[in-house]
């Protein structure tokens, strides 16, 4: 998937993409043309002019939708195997969900809970660490600031997943001493995700922070507010749009993370949805297909809802910097 915002795999390129964003941050006016008043006659002529656009757009929709239709219809297909699945459900029913929720060897809701915990905690940490660092880089003046910023950017060039061998061996050793954060624990995986929490979005954050007028905090400082007071009561409320954008991108990116999770989490009770569903399908590609696809459908719901309800915000975040 083309998602440079994936927090575990941010590259310099994606940072560049944000780099030219000077605080635009919010959405671009992509939907402004929707509001268009026309008379009945001109509407008819305009349809005649654009019908071919509709036809081609429907083709694109068919291409985008057919795997999704397949997912939905297989999930509600009572036979529950790959060989009986098709674009239309043959025997509609909820038997796949029954099987999914009552499989002792595959604790689906535990996976769901684990995914929510990991993504939730990591997202909050990403926001806290990122906003704090951006404040230091945008508002405070100190020696080594420019070098520090460039250094963090440089480190982000190398995706965490490339160092998986070192992470695996390190955490195997750590686990012998402190089993609570070793391999096969949620906390260990969470720590790995937090490694890039500050750096991955620093550019996006700093760009936005720079657009908040400095006069605001200077005025507050003159009135006796401490640096912490300025940060918490003046800056943070003003940067909520970027917090929302980064928060969603981080959550969605982690929700789909597979490599590190599959290295770390080996016990079924500790796994996330990504690892658990992968194992479910691989147990028997034909027999467990219905169960897998039912689980996949439920696992997709949170991110799809986030995308659909906040698409303007996300589109702004994704295209930030693409327009000069």
């Amino acid at each position: 998937m083309t998602s440079p915002q994936d927090p575990t795999s941010s590259t310099l390129g994606s940072v560049d993409a944000h780099g030219s964003d000077r605080g635009r941050g919010g959405r671009l006016g992509t939907a402004s043309a929707d509001v268009y008043t026309v008379t009945r006659k001109s509407r008819r002529t305009s349809f005649r002019a654009v019908w071919w656009r509709h036809a081609l757009a429907l083709l694109a929709l068919a291409f985008a939708l057919f795997p999704i239709v397949f997912i939905v219809s297989s999930a509600f297909n009572n036979a529950g195997t790959l060989s009986t699945s098709g674009l239309l459900p043959t025997r509609f029913g909820l038997r796949n969900f029954d099987a999914l929720f009552n499989d002792a060897a595959r604790p689906y809701w535990t996976w769901y809970k684990n995914s929510l915990i990991i993504c939730g905690v990591a997202t909050v940490a990403t926001l806290v660490l990122g906003a704090a660092a951006a404040y230091a880089f945008s508002r405070l003046r100190w020696t080594g600031r420019r070098f520090g910023l460039l250094f963090i950017l440089l480190v982000q060039m190398f995706p965490a997943l490339l160092a998986f061998v070192a992470l695996y061996i390190t955490f195997a050793t750590v686990g012998e001493v402190i089993p609570q954060i070793g391999l096969n624990t949620l906390w260990g995986l969470l720590l790995v995700y937090l490694g890039g929490a500050m750096g991955a979005n620093i550019w996006l954050f700093k760009g936005y922070f720079d657009t908040i007028p400095k006069e605001l905090d200077e005025a507050a400082k003159i009135d006796g507010a401490s640096h912490a007071r300025v940060f918490f009561t003046i800056i943070l409320p003003l940067v909520t749009p970027i917090l929302a954008t980064v928060g969603i991108l981080a959550f969605v990116g982690l929700w789909g993370e597979f490599l590190l999770a599959s290295i770390f989490l080996t016990d079924a009770d500790n796994q996330t949805l990504a690892v658990g569903l992968y194992a479910t399908r691989n147990a028997d590609q034909n027999r467990y297909f219905g169960q897998f696809v039912a689980g996949a459908l439920l696992a997709s719901l949170p991110v799809v809802l986030v995308y659909l309800s906040l698409q303007r915000l996300l589109i702004g975040g994704m295209t930030a910097g693409s327009v000069k």
Partner: protein, 544 residues
């Protein structure tokens, strides 16, 4: 959004304007803030102290001093009024140092070693293992009741093995690769023969789990040392529930760095991290050790004929895969964006919501579902189009399947990006082109495309770098396969990253050293791509 923000700014400015009211900022920090602050500092120190205790028990002194240093930093940064920027940067920087930079440096370090199957432990541990492994039972030696365990909290499939032993007098011992220690009887549960069933701090293995680790157990023995620290004997298992103490038949000579087999008389010398027979006849001893091998992993990659051929293939496919994906997804996304970029077109919101779905679904859902759809016998693709293609079983069709899937996954991203970029192209440019007599196609080709490419160039480089390491897609769709030509190490759709993953963790004989070397090679390629991206954009000029 921007209007909202500026109104918020106005409101905030308004609040701050000296309008004669008393301003509310007092120079004293509220009590609850102080309480929370000191509570957090103490909590952090408590957690660090607990960690230090665990580490001290295990005897990792370097880690102890690291934890102590971190604790000092916490106090210096948060308990004083100095170093204000550090207060905001410390946690993030600490996590970055420990979990991004350390793994990076460690990867480079591992890539210069032979770390891997048969070369896991240090040389001392390898020698100890060889010697205790050669123990032969002598007449009248003690027998122990035995159970096999791993330290509590470690994985039974990978944790360090240990013998839980009961001698004839009923005393309990625990034997590890480091030697024999007494086990306090508190909490130990023993069976009728005196065999330990459970002991605090240890997880005993079931017969099935013991069987799964029979290879590890074959190399395992507990060394017994005399008071001078010389190994005099070893303990080995006999079957699943008994062990004996005996004298080793292989003796290590530290001066000469050789191992002599007292039964056969063979002398083994250390060579290439293994003990090999001096006269060159017979096999090397299986227990090797980890050592520095210089550039061997790298030179192997470039000079070993089979490896080089395989790696070249993987590299070519990897570059083609990333480049094709970026170009194809961009073109399709842009085409749809142009199609929808008509003010008269209605229902754009609905179209956009649906077109975003492939991008919104998690990769493990979409890639696995596509893998199922490409199934030769029951898959949707073959059924729908009346084909009988062995998509994931033949090298070329598997590559086509990967490219189709990634086109589907990636085009919505470019559709969204291009829609945004198209909106920002001023209409007078298009009008000027029309006045100059350019047709619709010429306008797109000569006016809109160049402007679009300037705008989305950095994103294309980012997308290329991302897809260059698109582990998720390949692993979930094909696992790098299919494997042709009777080998199972290099698959037809392998990227460098999936190859490294399989080398390190995929098989029975991990080769961490070589996998790390491949990672380092990818590091350099990513660096080159990013440098290219850097110089092509003016992003860095604005760092102030």
């Amino acid at each position: 959004m921007s209007e909202t923000r500026s109104s918020e700014v106005d409101a905030a400015l308004h609040n701050l304007e000296p309008t004669g009211e008393r301003l509310e900022f007092s120079s004293r920090t509220p009590l609850w803030v102080q309480v929370v602050k000191w509570g957090l500092i103490l909590l952090t120190l408590a957690v660090l102290g607990w960690m230090a205790q665990q580490v001290i028990e295990a005897g990792y002194w370097l880690m102890v001093s690291l934890i102590g240093f971190i604790a000092l930093c916490v106090i210096a940064v948060y308990a004083t009024k100095r170093a204000i920027p550090a207060k905001y940067l410390f946690p993030g920087v600490l996590l970055m140092l420990l979990l991004q930079i350390w793994p990076l440096l460690y990867t480079v370090q591992i890539s210069f070693t032979n770390f891997g199957d048969g070369h896991i432990s240090s040389k001392e541990e390898a020698v100890a293992s060889i010697v205790s492994n050669s123990v032969r039972e002598v007449e009248g030696s003690t027998r122990y009741a035995l159970n096999i365990a791993v330290p509590e909290g470690t994985d039974v499939a990978t944790g360090d093995l240990a013998y839980l032993l009961t001698d004839a007098d009923g005393a309990y011992y625990v034997g590890t690769i480091d030697g024999l220690e007494e086990l306090p009887a508190d909490g130990v549960e023993a069976g009728p023969t005196g065999r330990i069933i459970s002991a605090p701090g240890w997880t005993t293995l079931t017969p099935q789990e013991v069987n799964d680790r029979s290879d590890d157990l074959a190399d395992f023995g507990v060394p017994v040392f005399d008071d001078a620290g010389e190994q005099t004997a070893g303990i080995r298992q006999v079957g699943l529930s008994e062990a004996f103490i005996g004298t080793p038949t292989r003796v290590y000579d530290e001066e000469a760095d050789t191992i002599t087999d007292t039964v056969t008389g063979t002398v083994y010398v250390a060579e290439d991290a293994n003990f090999v027979p001096e006269n060159g006849e017979g096999a090397a001893l299986p227990q090797g050790w980890r050592e520095f091998v210089g550039f061997e992993n790298y030179t192997n990659a470039f000079t070993n004929a089979t490896l080089r051929e395989g790696l070249t293939k993987v590299f070519v496919w990897n570059v083609f895969f990333a480049a094709f994906t970026v170009v194809a997804t961009f073109l399709l996304g842009m085409a749809i964006a142009l199609l929808m970029n008509d003010e008269r077109l209605r229902g754009k919101g609905i179209y956009r919501s649906i077109l975003i779905l492939p991008y919104a679904l998690p990769i493990y859902v979409t890639a696995l579902v596509w893998a199922s759809m490409f199934n030769q016998d029951f898959g949707l693709i073959n059924n729908l189009f009346g084909l009988d293609i062995n998509w994931l079983g033949s090298a070329w069709w598997a590559r086509v399947a990967v490219l189709i899937t990634n086109l589907w996954l990636g085009f919505p991203y470019w559709f969204i990006v291009c829609t945004g970029a198209l909106q920002a192209i001023p209409s007078d440019v298009k009008e000027a082109a029309a006045i100059d007599g350019a047709g619709a196609f010429a306008t797109v080709r000569r006016v809109i495309m160049p402007l679009l490419l300037v705008a989305v160039g950095p994103l294309m480089i980012a997308s290329f770098a991302f897809n260059f390491n698109n582990f998720g897609l390949i692993w979930l769709l094909t696992e790098g396969g299919p494997f042709v030509g009777g080998q199972s190490s290099i698959g037809s759709t392998d990227l460098l990253i999936t190859l490294a993953y399989r080398l390190a963790l995929g098989g029975a004989a991990p080769n961490f050293g070589f996998a790390s070397a491949i990672s380092v090679i990818i590091f350099f390629m990513v660096a080159v791509i990013s440098y290219f991206g850097f110089t092509r954009t003016a992003a860095l000029e604005d760092v102030n």
